[in-house]
Chain length 391, copies 2
């Protein structure tokens, strides 16, 4: 059931599911999102892969996600600067506002990533305490606009600009904000919303939080964090519940315009905003999963080399050459010829041996492919050719 | 648009999509099916796995599927007998009707598995020739009930029995069958059906073929083959497009009763039959995928052992013991102690060495787990403990 709240000094707000669930795009995106989610759950890994996945995929995605959610709000930090802050151990060195924000977002990222429900087997209930805790972490030590970390505001704020559908003046007295937040949380935990797809619940939690705009600062980040928390709880892996921050940022204009449009022109009808948010989420997931598959393919290939070497189908020189080319992604013939490892390997051999080894890697085993570009020769591991889907 | 056909000596038949597409179960199953399909597409394999997957999963599933579709029609062949026929090279030895049927189903299985559309990038069009070719293969050399392989009948048949909703008398003159088959094929290729989920198209192709029952014998097998062909074309891997034959067989009573019910009580309303068929398909897929994941996990584990040995994290004795236990699935301590390989490995060693090796496998590396059952000790590879989903 929809919940209607009538604030003292703000127009009535109805919390409701008001979108066309039969819209082909919505069904299509939901199917894609759930399929991708399930697909990634089926990717099994072995312990020797964990480090590579963490370092080459999860950490890089984390940096990109953090960059996205900060950049939306005008924080100028580059990905490089963010990476530096994340590894800074001396907190006293984190002084500038942009660095504090970065640090805080990493904290909220970790908070969500490690979040455990009080009752693991029951659905996640959203509470005001939880939302305020997210906000507290995000705006800790930022001292902005009279904002108090974790507390609702009791003053007026303006949201948006003319380019994105005009200025919006959300409710501005504390009583109204309290009343609306109570209504929002009640509705988010209602039977109607709980039996929706969690992705819809996550999107609408974000949507209504921006509508109420309960805090003095950091409402956008808090809303996106809440959305990620719900997705994380639903089981999105590898940090994919945060990856949509990247795509909100790269679709900045649409993101803000559709908020305004849903509120004003559509008078609360959510279809367009939901389709946009689903497309963002779908995009984020597809990209995360592609990266995971790329890295697991590479690791599988490495294990395959191990298998070939162990079963003496390739010799140890061939094994080391293949592994080196794999690790480097691409290697010119020149670079290979001058590589120190190569000299060590073939010190007591004739050039013919090297040629024979390479020929077998290229032709018999097809582990390596040769690419000619601008009359230069390059080598690459033949991952696509060897790691394949079955049948 | 629905297509209505008015036969001379049979009631009018309307080919139409007549099911409640909003039924929660239908949407739920379709999402599950598409998710599972996508999940299996993401399982990547390396060349040294192909043989194990073929032998231990795909072939076993093929035998079970063939057994299912034959057993539904009362063919008494066991899985063992079927396996024997499949490897029989001397066709002259295949004489008994049940063996000929087995041989034929394997032929139609291969036909579907190798089926290439005339135009690979266009949707699969169903033609009468195609349906008749499936039937021709299925009933070749069976000489049953005046049935002519690949030809429509021109005589009356009775279908079903009292236990499954009563006897059904399908159209019985050739002109009517021709007219109905023409209508069916036209409808299956119509825009309306082509933009449906292919799983729905596959189910309804099967459903209407049974309604027309165009052949003297083998209609059930032909209908299920047509269904599998559409699913195969849609991209179901590892023979999963055939696995539903297993589940039709194990749900035999419901399968036939729901045909009758849709036809009689529901007057052509398909929801119940579609939900049943989707549940069968979903079941089939989930089981296929679980088997694939089980085998790929085992292969991943093997590659992990290879990695550990290559990097000298375990010694070659430990490697061989682990691999042997993995291959045997489970091994009692007694069996292990008396195993010839073990004597060879530890010939020049003290018993302490063996104990130390085992202790490290069990405790440090946790590659092996110890199970005590009825006071006997067993060893098993710790696949679940080591191969995991990320995070």
């Amino acid at each position: 059931m929809p919940i209607e709240v009538k604030p003292y000094k703000f127009e009535p707000v109805i919390f409701e599911l008001r979108y066309n669930r039969m819209a082909d795009e919505i069904m299509g995106f939901i199917i894609n999102i759930l399929s991708n989610k399930k697909a990634v759950e089926k990717i099994h890994i072995i312990p020797n892969w964990v480090e590579a996945i963490n370092e080459r995929v999860v950490k890089q995605l984390m940096i990109k996600s953090i960059h996205g959610t900060l950049a939306i709000e005008g924080n100028p930090s580059t990905e490089k600067e963010i990476e530096k802050i994340l590894s800074e151990e001396d907190l006293r060195k984190i002084k500038e506002r942009k660095d504090i924000e970065t640090y805080n977002i990493k904290q909220v990222y970790d908070y969500i990533n490690n979040f455990k429900k009080p009752e693991p087997n029951k659905p996640l209930l959203i509470t005001e305490e939880l939302i305020r805790e997210l906000h507290r972490i995000i705006t800790d030590r930022t001292f902005e606009n009279g904002n108090v970390p974790g507390q609702y505001r009791n003053f007026e704020v303006k949201v948006g600009d003319e380019q994105h559908g005009g200025i919006y003046r959300p409710p501005h007295i504390l009583e109204d904000i309290k009343m609306l937040m109570k209504g929002l949380v009640e509705w988010l935990n209602s039977e109607e919303v709980m039996k929706e797809y969690p992705v819809i619940r996550a999107i609408l939690a974000h949507y209504y939080l921006e509508l109420i705009h309960p805090f003095g600062d950091g409402n956008g980040r808090a809303g996106r964090a809440l959305e990620s928390l719900i997705l994380h709880d639903f089981g999105f892996k590898y940090g994919s519940s945060f990856a949509l921050w990247i795509y909100y940022y790269s679709n900045y204009d649409i993101y803000f315009s559709l908020f305004s449009k849903a509120r004003k022109e559509n008078k609360g009808e959510q279809t367009e905003f939901i389709i946009f948010a689903l497309s963002v989420l779908n995009n984020a997931l597809e990209n995360v999963f592609e990266e995971i598959v790329n890295i697991t393919d590479k690791l599988l290939f490495k294990d395959y080399l191990s298998y070939l070497a162990k079963n003496r189908k390739i010799n140890s020189r061939q094994y080391l050459i293949s592994e080196m080319i794999l690790d480097k992604n691409i290697m010119s013939a020149e670079e290979l010829n001058n590589y120190p490892l190569l000299n060590t390997l073939y010190k007591k051999r004739t050039p013919r041996t090297f040629q024979r080894d390479m020929k077998a890697l290229l032709e018999t085993h097809q582990l390596i492919i040769k690419i000619t570009k601008e009359e230069k020769i390059y080598y690459q591991a033949n991952i696509k050719g060897l790691i394949s889907k079955y049948g």
